[in-house]
Symmetry: C2
DNA sequence: TAGATTGTTAATCGATTAACAATC
DNA sequence: TAGATTGTTAATCGATTAACAATC
């Protein structure tokens, strides 16, 4: 009881959020034929400090070699393993407005081990129309088909691109259908049970945070010396 | 010198990131005719604790009334003022792939005090084509026009929706054109000078974080009791 | 006055950082 | 061995939380 035992799944949330970035950059290095990389160089490519990178990786295990660095493919594999991206995940998208259609057509979505298994809309006029998504094409389905499609394809993740008013209702239906991970683009806070993980992406919020930055600069004394010197 | 003087622009970054959410929710309440609101209720609608909300607001000043709550329009105004969203901001979008076209057409972008002043693409075949964006329509311009358009319209924010390979180059051009706020959807870390604020939105990263959550549940003991009980 | 709710305090928690011993 | 780089430690920093005095 007094032992300071290491918690089993105790990887900090901040670390988890950075692992996909490390994974992607490592993949790129790997495809360039780079075999070994030092934390300093990898960290620079990821936009973090080397101390932070090493600290993050230390939570997964000890995969580097002192004096040498990390084996790129070995580290890539272990991060992928930790993230669970070894197994492909099915996703459904609800809300076929501009954003929903773009995400359905977005190559980057499918490029990293995710595949769309269904697209949905509440609008009866939209249902039945076909969307070309790269090589595949999808037919917009009615929301009433959601549960069946999720079950049949063992979908993992629900993406909500509806207007704010419908988002909660759709989230409830997704959870009822068995989804426990939701990516929400609607500008509302979704009330869900504890087991469900919701990540919210609010594009207008991102712009407003940048507007705050703009404003601060407007009232600054010398807006003269802006040049490509330091690295943020 | 020994006085613990309050720093002038010392609002924590975590608070800034939440202010747009408070602002939006308050706007909604305002348009519903609600005059006064308590921190408990506002916090619930925003998905934060009331303690956090009050702490955040305390950094802006003292705009509530003890025993009563906050006046909705008064608070909305002061948050807008702090965020700098009172003045409309011009934005440019570079990269007219699926995502870029969607953002250009996305109503929510224009709805909160932002207006698009130009859309650009490197591809000569794309340049000159017209995009219907709600009521307005835009013609895709060549990158060589970027600086002129930014200057003429006093644009504030650059949005990068190019492939990863071109993103750094476009960022450099944006900064050269005078932009100091960039919203980057390309999956690369942009190297920029200190004065420039870059926010990165990586849709694949968001999905991968959710995949991590899925995986944890897969290996859980009882995937039985998932119901709409608690609030995350 | 009694009830309600803010604004602030102090404690806790988690994340970041710098430095360095371990070790290839 | 000498040089390089990891993994870990301990200090610092910032953010969250709970509690409550202030005050409407």
């Amino acid at each position: 009881m007094t032992l300071p035992s290491r918690k089993p799944g105790g990887i900090p949330a901040a670390t988890i959020a950075r692992l996909p970035v490390y994974h992607r950059v490592l993949s790129t290095f790997g495809s360039q034929g780079i075999v070994t990389i030092a934390s300093e160089e990898l960290a620079a490519a990821c936009g973090v400090s080397s101390a932070k990178l090493r600290k993050d990786l230390s939570h997964l295990g000890s995969f580097g070699t002192r004096g040498v660095g990390y084996n790129v493919s070995y580290l890539t594999f272990h991060i992928a393993r930790e993230l669970g991206v070894t197994k492909p995940r099915g996703i459904v998208i609800v809300g076929m407005g501009n954003l929903g259609r773009a995400l359905a057509s977005y190559r980057a979505f499918g490029a990293r081990g995710f595949h769309i298994v269904g697209i949905f809309d509440r609008d009866h006029e939209m249902v039945g129309s076909t969307l070309l998504c790269g090589q595949e094409s999808f037919t917009v389905m009615p929301i009433s088909d959601l549960a069946a499609v999720v079950a049949k394809n063992e979908a993992s993740i629900g993406v909500i691109t509806t207007p704010a008013e419908s988002a909660q209702e759709i989230a409830d239906l997704m959870i009822e259908a068995g989804l426990v991970s939701i990516l929400n683009f609607a500008p509302v806070f979704l009330k869900v049970s504890q087991e469900v993980e919701v990540r919210k992406v609010d594009l207008a919020v991102e712009l407003q945070i940048l507007a705050f930055h703009d404003q601060k600069l407007d009232s600054e004394p010398s807006p003269q010396e802006l040049s490509q010197v330091d690295i943020a």
